[in-house]
Symmetry: C2
Subunit: 342 residues, 2 copies
DNA sequence: GGCCGTACCGAAAAGGTTTTCGGATGCTTT
DNA sequence: AAAGCATCCGAAAACCTTTTCGGTACGGCC
C-alpha cells in the first residue's frame, strides 16, 4: 500500500522547513534558491541540499500574491470540439511554453452566461491576461465584463475596433489558392464555397475574384454557396459538371466539400488531377490524406495564429496594449489533387 | 481612447477597500460577503453595495494560500491534436463545471521531460488534483515525480495498478458491435481492424470473438490488422472481397477504415447496407455523417469518461484514493450503413 | 588600537483573505 | 439598579514567499 514517497497528510515542505534544515533563516534560503547574491557558496549548497531532501517546491500562490503577477493566462474558447480552437490553443501553449506561464482553459460553449462566469473566475484567479478564441471567423461581441488585464481575440475578431484581434487572412487565402491553380496551368476555374453566412467564405471569395481579375481569367459559373460538408460538395459538383462540362479546376470551401467533389468527379469518370484539379481549405490532415488523390489544401496556420496571439498578449502585459485587427498569412500545401505527381 | 471602466493602473479593489467604503472592518466585510452569520442584515447590505461599487473580486490566491486548497486541477494530456483527449477534457470541464474549479491545461506532446516540467509547474501552483490523459489506450508509465495530490489516469491506464485509471471498455465495444450486426441479421461477419500495436485493437478483437462464439457464428476470414486509416480500409476490403465474396458484414477498426471500406464496396458494386453492412469505431461525426450511407459506429463515450475521471478526482480529494482500472461503457450509434432505412 | 569596507546573514514587512476570539453595545430579567 | 444575555463587530493571527534594510563579523589600513 506504499503510496508515493511524499504521502498525503504530510504537509508539503515550505521555505521555513528548508531554512530550518539548512540552519539558516528563510530570507537566506530564499536568496540562495533564487540565485540572489550576498550568500556564501557553501551556504547556498546547504540550502539546495535541504530543498532537495524535502523535495521543496515554492508556493506559487504566495509568490504571486506578493509579486502581483501570477504567471497564468486564461484561454476562453467557444467550441472546444471544433478543430479550429485546438491548434490555436497548441500554439499559445507553445509560445508561453517552456516559460513560466500556465494556461487556464475554459469553454463557454457559445453561452454568454457561461462566458461571464468564466471571466469572473479567471479574474478572481488574477490571470495576467486573456485570450478569447471565437468559434468562427465572424466578429464576436467583446467581453461583457470590464476587464483590467490585457485581452487578445484570436480567430474571431472583436466587434470593438479598440480591441486587439488576430485572425487568419482569408482574403489572402482565396487569392493564393487561385494563384496556385493558375500556376498549375488551369484556366477554367470554378468555386464551390461553404456556408454563405460565414465571413470566412465571403472573404475567400473576394480573394478568389481579385486573383482571377488580375490574371484576366473569368470564374467558371457562379460561386456556389452551401454548407461546409461532404454532401454539399457531392451535390454541387454534380450541378457544376452538368452546366460547365469543360471546367478544369474546382476550388472548394473546405476539405470536406472537396472530398465530396472528388467523389462525384470519380463517379462521373473525370480524372483528378489530369482532367480536373481540386483544392480544399483548412488542410485537415485526416481529410486530405485519406483522399484519392491526396488533397491540396490551404492551411490557415492556426498554430502560428495561436503563437502570435500569445506573443501579442505578452507584449500587452508589460507594454501598452495594441489594438485593431492583425492577420496571419495562410499557405498552400500542394498534394496530388492539383499536381500530376505527388 | 476610453478603455474599460476599470482602467489599468488602477489597483484592483481589495477587501479592505470594500470595508473602508462600507465603514466596517475587513473581518466583517469578509463575513458579510461570504454569508457567515453574526452580521447585521443592514450591515451586510452596505458591504454588498460597496463591493459592487468597487467591482470587487476576491483574490483567489490569498484565499487559496490560507485554505490550502486552490480549486484548480491540472489536466495533463499527451496529444491535444488527437480527437480523443478533447472530449475527455470537455467532460472533465463539464463535471467540475459551474462549480468553483478551474482547469490548467498542459500538453506534454509525448515528451517525458516536458511532462515532468509541467507536473512541477502544476504542483508549484498547488493544484488540488491531476488528470492524466494518455494518447492511446495503451498503458503508460506513471508520473515520474512523487506527487502528493490525487491523480486519475484517463483513456490510457497507468502501468502501476496502485493508481486509479478510467478507460473505455474496448472488449465490450467489440462485443456490442458484433451483437448489433447479428441483430441486423448478419451471419457472415468479417473484421478489418486497425493497428495491431494498439491494445485497443486487440481488446476489441477479443470482444468480437467472444460475441461470435456465444452466437455460434464463425468469423469470416482472418482478423486483418493494418493502420487506422482510410487507405488501409480500401486495400483490406479489396482483399477481403477477393477471398470471401459472400461476406455480408464488415466491422472496421475505425471510422476512417470504414470509409475506405465503403469506397471499395461501392466500386465493386456491393450495395450498403443491402448486400454488406459496415460499421466503424469512434463515432467521429465528420466521418460518419459524410459517408454514404451514413455510418453506424461505436461511440466510446469519451465525454462521459472525462466526467467520470473528474468525479473520481473529486472523490479522491477529500476521501481516500481509489485504485485499479475502471471502465466506461461504449454504445452503438446505428445509422444507414447497417440499417436499410436511416 | 581604532576605523572602514566588505561579505554575509536575519528580522520584519508586505501581499489579501479567512477565522478565531475577545470586546462592546443594547436589551431583558430579578 | 445590577446582573445576565444575545447580538454584532473588530483586532490579530495565519497562510508562504520575497525584498529591504539593518546588523554582525572579519580582514586590512592608518
Amino acid at each position: 500500500m506504499a503510496r508515493s514517497p511524499a504521502p498525503r497528510g504530510t504537509r508539503t515542505a515550505t521555505l521555513s522547513d528548508v531554512a530550518r534544515l539548512a540552519g539558516v533563516s528563510v530570507a537566506t534560503a530564499s536568496k540562495a534558491l533564487n540565485g540572489r547574491n550576498h550568500v556564501h557558496a557553501q551556504t547556498r549548497e546547504r540550502v539546495f541540499e535541504a530543498a532537495a531532501q524535502l523535495s521543496f517546491s515554492p508556493n506559487s500562490l504566495a509568490r504571486g500574491l506578493l509579486a502581483g503577477k501570477t504567471g497564468t493566462v486564461g484561454l476562453l474558447t467557444s467550441d472546444l470540439v471544433g478543430r479550429f480552437s485546438l491548434p490555436i490553443l497548441m500554439g499559445a501553449e507553445d509560445a508561453f511554453g517552456a516559460g513560466q506561464v500556465s494556461v487556464f482553459l475554459c469553454d463557454a460553449r457559445g453561452d454568454a452566461i457561461r462566458e461571464r462566469h468564466h471571466v469572473r473566475a479567471l479574474l478572481s484567479r488574477r490571470v495576467d491576461g486573456l485570450i478569447v478564441v471565437g468559434s468562427s471567423t465572424d466578429p464576436r461581441p467583446p467581453l461583457a465584463d470590464s476587464v483590467d488585464v490585457p485581452v487578445v481575440y484570436a480567430y474571431a475578431p472583436s466587434e470593438n475596433p479598440e480591441d486587439l484581434s488576430i485572425v487568419p487572412d482569408n482574403v489572402g487565402a482565396g487569392r493564393m489558392a487561385v494563384e496556385h491553380l493558375i500556376a498549375c496551368g488551369r484556366t477554367r476555374i470554378a468555386h464551390i464555397s461553404g456556408d454563405r453566412q460565414y465571413s470566412a467564405a465571403r472573404d475567400r471569395v473576394d480573394g478568389v475574384r481579385a486573383a482571377l481579375d488580375e490574371a484576366g481569367i473569368p470564374l467558371v459559373g457562379q460561386v456556389a454557396y452551401g454548407t461546409w460538408e461532404e454532401g454539399w460538395g457531392r451535390a454541387a459538383a454534380g450541378m457544376l459538371l452538368d452546366r460547365e462540362p469543360d471546367v478544369d479546376a474546382v476550388l472548394c470551401g473546405s476539405d470536406q466539400v472537396a472530398r465530396g467533389v472528388l467523389d462525384t468527379l470519380r463517379e462521373r469518370g473525370r480524372r483528378v488531377p489530369d482532367d480536373v484539379a481540386v483544392m480544399g481549405f483548412d488542410n485537415w490532415q485526416v481529410m486530405t490524406s485519406g483522399a484519392r488523390p491526396q488533397l491540396t489544401s490551404v492551411d490557415m496556420n492556426l498554430e502560428e495564429l495561436g503563437r502570435a496571439a500569445a506573443r501579442a498578449l505578452f507584449e500587452s502585459i508589460d507594454a501598452e496594449h495594441g489594438k485593431g485587427i492583425r492577420t496571419v498569412q495562410c499557405r498552400v500545401v500542394p498534394r496530388g489533387s492539383t499536381a500530376p505527381d505527388a
